[in-house]
């Protein structure tokens, strides 16, 4: 009962936090509900690239997750952690990393022209998709992997014993997981790509690759037409909402594996062919995801000597923000462990930070100046932005724990607290710590709302990188970006370690 109340309160609060700013902004300005032909073209392209990006990310992530779940090898954990890095890189740094491989003068084209083949151009829809896949495969892979690792190992043993063929094995063992996780992750990536703008424009090669977010930015910053900006933001929000609702209604069926005895197994019988297949996938995808990162690391490390002592303050600020948002997001997410929570939680990333920032500003300006509480404004926004990730990572695990153990616990007469502490929490630990690591890293890398509420007195690491870029200091910016990456990986590894210790 208490849990249900918490959930309702949490949902309502978030609805207010997301819609409040938007509604306030719409009514603050003159209403402008025009939708031009340029907007229509942008909307069409936005939908196309978002749908393709999320579909491809999910499709490619599945075999990778499956391969990773079946194989143990040295460096596996580091690879899995490194996979989450593209997600948190400042946009331009990630783009430069990708271009070092796929760009005009990148690795691939250099190889091609060395061997006398014609060079190719990344710019266009293919570039947009490539970048979005690069950013999002890791997220999808981790989500699949978490579910695969929770699957009762007895099932694999049984399938091996029965000598099931590939198709039947997929249908019986894998499909329930795909059916559960894929729609959730698809809708999350869809919404992320929906609001993507700098990446789409740069790798899309020109105005053909325009998303609705650009029009929102333009109306807000240049035309000062807040009415139009919030109208467009509302359209974007509706599309996101529709996608999430559809993905839940059509596909989001609950898992109904029988409960496992939580006993790990050691080695499984696997044929040589599948060994080659698994490692082939791990190597190809691993290279695709890590070479751009390695290039970024190399560029940054050789410029470390440019870093100044003043960078410590923004580093400290960013870490503080990251840890607190991780904590808040993850605790809040516990109130959203149902499908409507998932929809509402996702909407918070479907509204651009500029709009949320401006709306929040209008809501609180009569009480306090947001510029005097920059830290709290950024913390609030970052925590809300982390919610959809936290929810998606923890909900499948939480549902399983509840369906497997709750009735039993009640039958034993456990108090809610005992249930929560002795049964629920230990089993949620893996998902919980991954969620905290991811939200922390996301918050580390987020420039977001600070651009509006800026920082002469409160600077974060991404803001400093942005300032360096604006001051021609690209080398120093790359070095700072590597610091950002290293800290984020560090935070990830710490949470990962916590998640692995002391299993009940």
């Amino acid at each position: 009962m208490a849990q249900r109340t918490f959930s309702i309160v949490a949902n309502c609060t978030l609805l207010f936090a997301v819609f409040g700013p938007l509604v306030v902004l719409i009514f603050h300005a003159d209403q402008n509900f025009t939708f031009t032909s340029a907007d229509r073209a942008a909307l069409k392209f936005t939908l196309l690239q978002a749908a393709l990006s999320s579909l491809l990310s999910v499709l490619l992530a599945w075999p990778l997750a499956l391969a990773l779940s079946r194989r143990q090898f040295r460096g596996r954990r580091l690879l899995i952690v490194a996979l989450s890095v593209p997600f948190i890189l400042p946009v331009i740094v990630a783009i430069l990393g990708l271009l070092s491989v796929f760009g005009n003068s990148g690795l691939l084209n250099s190889l091609l022209s060395f061997f006398g083949f014609p060079v190719f151009s990344i710019y266009g829809l293919s570039g947009v998709l490539l970048a979005h896949i690069f950013f999002n495969i890791p997220l999808a892979t981790r989500a699949f992997l978490l579910a695969l690792e929770r699957r009762p190992k007895e099932l694999d043993r049984l399938a091996d014993g029965l000598n099931l063929n590939f198709l039947i094995r997929f249908w019986i063992l894998d499909w329930p997981i795909v059916r559960l996780i894929a729609p959730q992750i698809f809708s999350l990536i869809f919404v992320l790509c929906l609001t993507s703008f700098a990446v789409v424009l740069t790798l899309g090669g020109g105005p053909k690759a325009t998303t609705l977010e650009l029009a929102i930015y333009q109306s807000f910053r240049f035309e000062l037409d807040f009415g139009r900006a919030s109208f467009l933001a509302f359209i974007q929000l509706s599309i996101a909402a529709l996608t999430c609702v559809l993905s839940i209604i059509i596909f989001g069926l609950p898992l109904n594996f029988n409960q496992s005895l939580d006993r790990p197994i050691h080695k499984r019988y696997l044929r040589l062919g599948s060994l080659f297949w698994d490692f082939g996938i791990i190597i190809v995808m691993g290279l695709f995801l890590t070479i751009p990162l390695i290039s970024v690391l190399l560029k940054g490390v050789q410029n470390f000597y440019l870093l100044e002592i003043t960078i410590w303050t923004p580093i400290f600020n960013s870490i503080t923000l990251a840890l607190f948002s991780a904590l808040i997001s993850t605790i809040l997410a516990m109130g959203f462990m149902n499908k409507w929570g998932e929809v509402i939680g996702t909407l918070s990333i479907a509204v651009s930070p500029l709009i949320i920032g401006a709306g929040l500003f209008l809501m609180i300006k009569n009480f306090i100046s947001p510029f005097e509480v920059t830290f709290w404004v950024i913390l609030t926004v970052n925590s809300i932005m982390g919610l959809p990730f936290a929810i998606r990572i923890m909900r499948p695990a939480s549902d399983e724990i509840i369906s497997n153990f709750h009735r039993l616990s009640i039958a034993y007469g456990m108090t809610p607290f005992a249930w929560f502490y002795w049964v629920y929490l230990p089993r949620l630990k893996g998902a919980l710590t991954y969620s905290m690591g991811l939200v922390a890293a996301l918050s580390m890398g987020d420039l977001g709302v600070i651009v509006l509420f800026g920082g002469a007195n409160f600077e974060t690491l991404p803001l400093v990188i942005y300032q360096l870029m604006s001051a021609y200091r690209i080398d120093q910016a790359m070095a700072s970006a590597v610091i950002l990456v290293l800290i984020s990986i560090g935070i990830f590894l710490v949470f990962d370690r916590i998640g692995k210790t002391r299993n009940a």
């Binding site: 603050h28 340029a38 073209a41 946009v91 331009i92 783009i95 430069l96 271009l99 070092s100 760009g103 005009n104 003068s105 710019y123 703008f197 700098a198 424009l201 740069t202 790798l203 899309g204 090669g205 020109g206 105005p207 053909k208 650009l214 029009a215 930015y217 333009q218 807000f220 910053r221 240049f222 035309e223 000062l224 807040f226 100044e308 003043t310 500029l354 401006a358 500003f361 209008l362 300006k365 100046s369 510029f371 651009v451 509006l452 509420f453 800026g454 920082g455 002469a456 803001l463 400093v464 942005y466 300032q467 360096l468 870029m469 604006s470 001051a471 021609y472 200091r473 690209i474 910016a477």
Partner: protein, 311 residues
């Protein structure tokens, strides 16, 4: 109270301006030497913030506005006349604006890596560069420098602007959201040229001792780009704001501009500029839309650009 109360001057400025690599910190130090006040920069978006705050703004002065949005800014009616002598300005155009006061300027230009290509000397030559030389520009819908380029082309080609864009399209590697992304692609070697400013090479010469970056000087003339300051009407510190506006035109302020903001000072004869800046190639002529002309033509010019590049 133990301390004498000194007045505060609140100046809104963009992030790049207040950052430790921008002109903000040295300007603050210089001004506080004489003003007997505390100058506080508040960083972030300028106009959206002023609109949101309305009359409750705590800003006394705003610095870092651009010419291309002055009409919108003026219509807000929140700025007061700067009351400085426009005759002191040393700009390539006659400046008679009583509200907005330029503190620096530069010309839009394409900057090239001379190890990769010969630097073109006209828009025609730009469009006829060898196939393997590409340029990066900024989107006029999200970037002020991108907008300056679209207006520049419009001024030179008039009703044929769309046609020129079509001709230039194959040379454009990509379009970015803002200046820094484009410039990053350029210095990373992804493109041979980038839309930037005639003053950009000064950074490479001074800081990196690199003489291979060169701004193209087009015989058609160049579009100037001014950065402006303005006094906020509701300011309770009128005397102090006026003092700051006066300070902007002084040598103390102007001396700081070239090496921190990598642009030309707005009220200083060329003889006083650092030699790196006076040695930079200077366009022979200036092409420019007045504020009203620009606001009439912007929408159409952007549409022509978008249509030509969307094909």
């Amino acid at each position: 109270m133990a301390l004498a109360q000194i007045p505060t001057l609140t100046v809104y400025a963009p992030d790049y301006f207040t950052s430790e690599w921008g002109p903000g910190p040295s300007i603050e130090a210089k001004f506080e030497e004489t003003c007997d006040c505390d100058l506080v920069f508040s960083a972030g978006e300028l106009l959206p913030r002023l609109v949101l705050e309305g009359n409750n703004t705590s800003a006394d002065v705003v610095i870092g506005l651009n010419t291309d949005i002055t009409k919108k800014a003026r219509e807000l009616g929140i700025f007061a006349p700067h009351k400085q002598d426009n005759g002191l300005l040393t700009l390539p155009v006659d400046w008679d604006d009583e509200i907005f006061l330029p503190f620096d300027w530069s010309y839009a230009s394409f900057v090239f890596d001379t190890t990769k290509t010969k630097v073109p000397s006209s828009f025609e030559e730009l469009a006829n560069l060898p196939d393997d030389i590409k340029i990066v520009i900024q989107d006029p819908r999200s970037s002020i420098s991108g907008l300056a380029l679209v207006l520049w082309v419009k001024k030179i080609y008039g009703k044929d602007a769309g046609e020129y864009w079509q001709k230039l399209a194959p040379k454009i590697l990509t379009v970015t959201k803002g200046w820094s992304e484009a410039y990053g692609l350029f210095t990373d070697g992804e493109a041979g040229g980038v839309l930037s400013f005639t003053t950009s090479p000064a950074y490479h010469i001074v800081v990196e001792e690199d003489n291979t970056k060169q701004a193209a000087i087009f015989k058609e003339g160049h579009y100037p780009f001014f950065e402006l300051a303005a006094k906020v009407k509701s300011s309770k510190n009128d005397a102090l704001s006026s003092m700051f506006m006066k300070f902007i035109l002084s040598d103390e302020f102007q001396d700081l501009i070239p090496m921190t903001n990598w642009s030309y000072p707005s009220s200083q004869a060329m003889e006083k500029w650092p030699s790196v800046f006076s040695d930079l190639p200077m366009p022979k002529s200036t092409v420019y839309f007045s504020e009203n002309e620009a606001s009439e033509i912007t929408k159409q010019a952007i549409e022509e650009w978008r249509n030509a590049l969307s094909q």
